[in-house]
């Protein structure tokens, strides 16, 4: 246990073998998997040498049929069973999904739990299941390439993803059998890919313009620590909007009517997209469209998209303000997303920040590359490396109070992990229960924010109104995931919830799906699960013994020491004898619980001594 070894950071008790870790960019249109080989991050191709995996899954009555390019071929012939752009549905509620339903051709239904699902010939599938299929495909590609089972993955998410969307991403990974080392924000991944963590000091802006979304992050780098200062953007603005603006110009120029049939619309948009891409390399393009021909120059296109670009620049300005950083302080600008290939985008960004943006890495791959580098650090292959990411939450988290108002408990752009407590009291005499409604968003009214979860604290002793003291604590972990506790302080009645938003899958549904997938390859999974638990058990035994030897006498009494020694013995025995991974897992958990106090005391004593006795010079050199 590393907490039991805090006194020697960066040193592992024995050099363990190199572990297999990947970075996964789970994208709206395309997904990628990357890993680090010989110190270099690279994306992994499939057998045909293709790096990008189209994020498309095709279903037949028997189940998921194929993923990627093969699935995309069914797009036209079998649109209702060929699911693409599922990322836009991930972690969304029924209302959001209905709104997107106009753009996506699927048959949406709700299951008994009221969660939105897509009706296919294979029955109802959730966006989480579809995402899990994509992840499985990438994992098997990686396992074939790395010749072995993966130990863990970093999966990227847009910085603006809210709690529900993050949780849904993590659920998809669980379903696909992937151990998630970290959900990493895409802009942060991009900054890592550019090796900016090697720079000593500086402030970085990451400008990420995809097909349908825009995202900007401001980060500060000092001595290997990436601190995200602010993040912002527009989840409904992207390169697709450029296409629409150009298409509208084409329509007017060619004298086509405003009411086009779907086929004509398709042609118009495809032409617009092709013209946009061509104008990256040439000053003007000749266009033939049905019976019309004409020329679009780069200058004219720039005029067409400038309004959209100005919107992104406004978002940049807001983020700088949130970060408390003047624009002159920006040292580096990183471009991410296919839409940043448009030259006008680069010019505008350069003009606003006063810095020529970095763009030498493929903007489609840069996120996966950064994720792979971070996975390498987290899995422990790069021990001693001091790179650390301090992320923020993109949207405020609050609680419903009287009158349908929201009291913000954690403000947006707060560094995570974070815990905040707020105290409330009862409102009526003799009130014995309190409902806690957890929300996310910036607006003042409950109706304008996203509802994440509700739970009740019951068993409050009857008191006069205002006498009870109810402390509600929000804890957000490093992945941006929330858990909430409510406790009545005079009686110690407590209620706790891991926020599983009503948009994802219910816990037992995941268990059931996992069970189903276990049944497919039961023996494999059993063996793999057992092996994982054995590795964990070995590490725990070794760490605990070392920690006992070092600090046991100092921090524990004789009884506590004996109790831990017995627990370790029992664990060793079960480790050797059992073939049931669950039995071993239970014992590991039990030993973990037993040693928690010890870990906590060591953490405490270590935190006290971490800086004591060091001069500032030493700290700075560290």
């Amino acid at each position: 246990m590393a907490l039991l070894q805090i006194s020697e950071p960066g040193q592992s008790p024995q050099p363990h073998q190199r572990r297999k870790a990947v970075g996964i960019d789970l994208g709206t249109t395309n997904s990628l998997v990357a890993t680090v080989r010989s110190g270099m991050a690279e994306t992994l191709p499939d057998e045909q040498g293709r790096h990008l995996l189209p994020s498309v899954v095709h279903y037949t009555p028997q189940g998921p049929n194929c993923v990627g390019n093969e699935a995309a071929e069914h797009n036209v012939s079998d649109p209702l069973n060929t699911i693409s752009s599922v990322k836009r549905l991930l972690g969304r509620g029924l209302e959001d999904v209905k709104m997107l339903g106009n753009q996506l051709p699927y048959d949406f239904q709700t299951d008994q739990g009221g969660m939105p699902k897509i009706a296919t010939v294979n029955g109802l599938v959730s966006p989480i299941q579809v995402s899990a299929e994509i992840l499985r495909k990438l994992v098997s590609r990686a396992e074939a390439s790395l010749d072995g089972v993966l130990d863990g993955a970093v999966i990227t998410v847009p910085a603006y993803f809210d709690e529900a969307q993050r949780q849904a991403t993590k659920d998809a990974a669980t379903l696909a059998g992937v151990k998630v080392l970290r959900l990493l924000n895409e802009p942060t991944a991009a900054a890592i890919a550019y090796g900016l963590d090697n720079a000593k000091e500086g402030v970085i802006a990451v400008y990420d313009l995809g097909g349908g979304t825009f995202d900007v992050s401001i980060m500060r780098l000092s001595r290997g620590v990436f601190e995200v200062l602010a993040t912002g953007g527009d989840s409904a603005l992207g390169g697709d909007d450029f296409d629409h603006a150009i298409a509208e110009w084409l329509r007017q120029q060619s004298g086509m009517s405003e009411s086009l049939n779907p086929m004509e619309q398709r042609i118009l948009l495809e032409t617009a997209k092709a013209v946009k891409e061509e104008l990256t390399d040439s000053e003007a393009v000749e266009i033939e469209l049905l019976d019309w021909s004409g020329v679009l120059t780069r200058d004219v296109m720039d005029d067409l998209i400038d309004d959209l670009l100005n919107q992104t620049i406004r978002a940049c300005r807001r983020s700088l303000r949130d970060a408390g950083v003047p624009v002159d302080d920006i040292d580096k600008v990183v471009l991410v997303g296919g839409s940043t290939r448009t030259l006008r985008v680069r010019d505008k960004v350069a003009e606003f920040f006063g810095v020529e943006p970095l763009a030498n890495l493929d903007p489609d791959r840069v996120v996966a590359l950064g994720a792979a580098l971070q996975a390498e650090v987290l899995i422990g292959n790069k021990s001693g490396d001091e790179m650390l990411l301090l992320d923020v939450i993109p949207l405020s988290l609050g609680i419903e109070t009287m009158g349908g108002l929201i009291e913000k408990i954690i403000h947006r752009n707060t560094t995570i992990p974070v815990a905040k407590a707020q105290e409330f009291t009862t409102f009526k005499d003799g009130q014995t229960a309190m409902a806690v409604h957890i929300l996310q968003g910036e607006r003042e009214l409950v109706d304008d924010c996203r509802s994440l979860a509700r739970f009740e604290l019951r068993g409050i002793p009857p008191m006069v109104a205002g006498a009870a003291k109810i402390r509600v604590t929000y804890q957000v972990d490093a992945d941006g995931l929330l858990s909430v506790t409510a406790r009545e302080l005079t009686s110690n009645v407590e209620s706790r919830i891991e926020v599983k938003p009503s948009y994802g899958l219910a816990e037992d549904e995941i268990t059931q799906m996992l069970q189903d997938s276990f049944n497919h390859a039961r023996d494999d999974m059993q063996a793999r699960a057992l092996r994982e638990q054995q590795v964990d058990a070995d590490r725990m035994i070794e760490d605990l013994l070392a920690a006992l030897k070092q600090d046991g006498d100092k921090l524990l009494n004789a009884e506590e020491i004996q109790c831990l020694q017995v627990a370790v013995k029992e664990l060793q025995k079960i480790r050797e004898e059992t073939t049931q991974h669950r039995v071993l897992a239970r014992q590991i958990e039990a030993v973990g619980k037993t040693s928690e106090t010890f870990a906590a005391r060591r953490m405490d004593s270590s935190i006290k001594s971490a800086l004591a006795g060091h001069s500032l010079d030493e700290i700075e050199q560290g």
């Binding site: 419903e400 205002g466 006290k608 800086l611």
Partner: protein, 200 residues
């Protein structure tokens, strides 16, 4: 509706005792001790940042990504605690409130009404200036001027707090802190308006 906000508690709640662990985690008793600095008004923010990052490099949950659930949970708590300490000490207002808390002053009183009539008049005038800005000929210029005014007064109040606090006149320090709250709030509103004007 069943909830009523009781307190505007900013910091100082020992969050760790809400942790899932059975035994309470008593991290160092106060936020200054977390960074091994003296509990005083004067804080070198650069130095604080260096110490903060040093601690996070050691205790952030990413350092425990492959460890057991228990360790990761403790790391999340430790890292949160360090974040909270940093957040409190780097903000002048929160630091002032926290210093008063350490001296046993309850800063969570529901209403902070200052009886300083001159101060209240000044507040009213500043707020009127702020609400008139949108109709000015050059609003960005006017708001920049207002901001400089407000920031310099905010600064003076901080000095006032420091003087009173260091003379151990905690009631006076409390009054200065209450005035700081007014100005901190005003600055937030100025920033919001600035953002709106720039976006327009």
């Amino acid at each position: 509706m069943w909830l009523r906000r009781e307190l505007s508690r900013l910091t100082c709640a020992p969050l760790i005792e809400n942790s899932q662990s059975d035994g309470p985690l008593n991290f160092s008793s106060d936020f200054f001790a977390v960074f091994s600095i003296n509990p005083a008004w004067d804080v070198d923010l650069n130095d604080l940042g260096v110490r903060y990052r040093k601690l996070q490099q050691e205790f952030h949950p990413d350092r425990y990504a492959t460890k057991s659930d228990v360790e990761r949970r403790v790391a999340v708590q430790a890292s949160s605690f360090i974040n909270q300490a940093f957040d409190t000490l780097k903000s002048p207002l929160k630091r002032a409130q926290y210093l008063l808390t350490l001296k046993g002053t309850d800063v969570d009183q529901e209403t902070h009404i200052t009886s300083d009539a001159v101060f209240l008049m000044q507040q009213i005038e500043l707020r009127e200036t702020l609400s008139d800005i949108s109709s000015k000929e050059n609003p960005l210029q006017s708001i920049a001027t207002l901001r400089i005014d407000v920031e310099s007064t905010y600064c003076e109040l901080q000095c006032e707090f420091q003087r009173q606090y260091e003379s151990e006149l905690f009631d006076n320090a409390f009054n200065a802190m209450v005035k700081m709250q007014f100005f901190a709030k005003l600055l937030v509103e100025i920033e919001q308006l600035e953002a709106e004007l720039e976006d327009a």
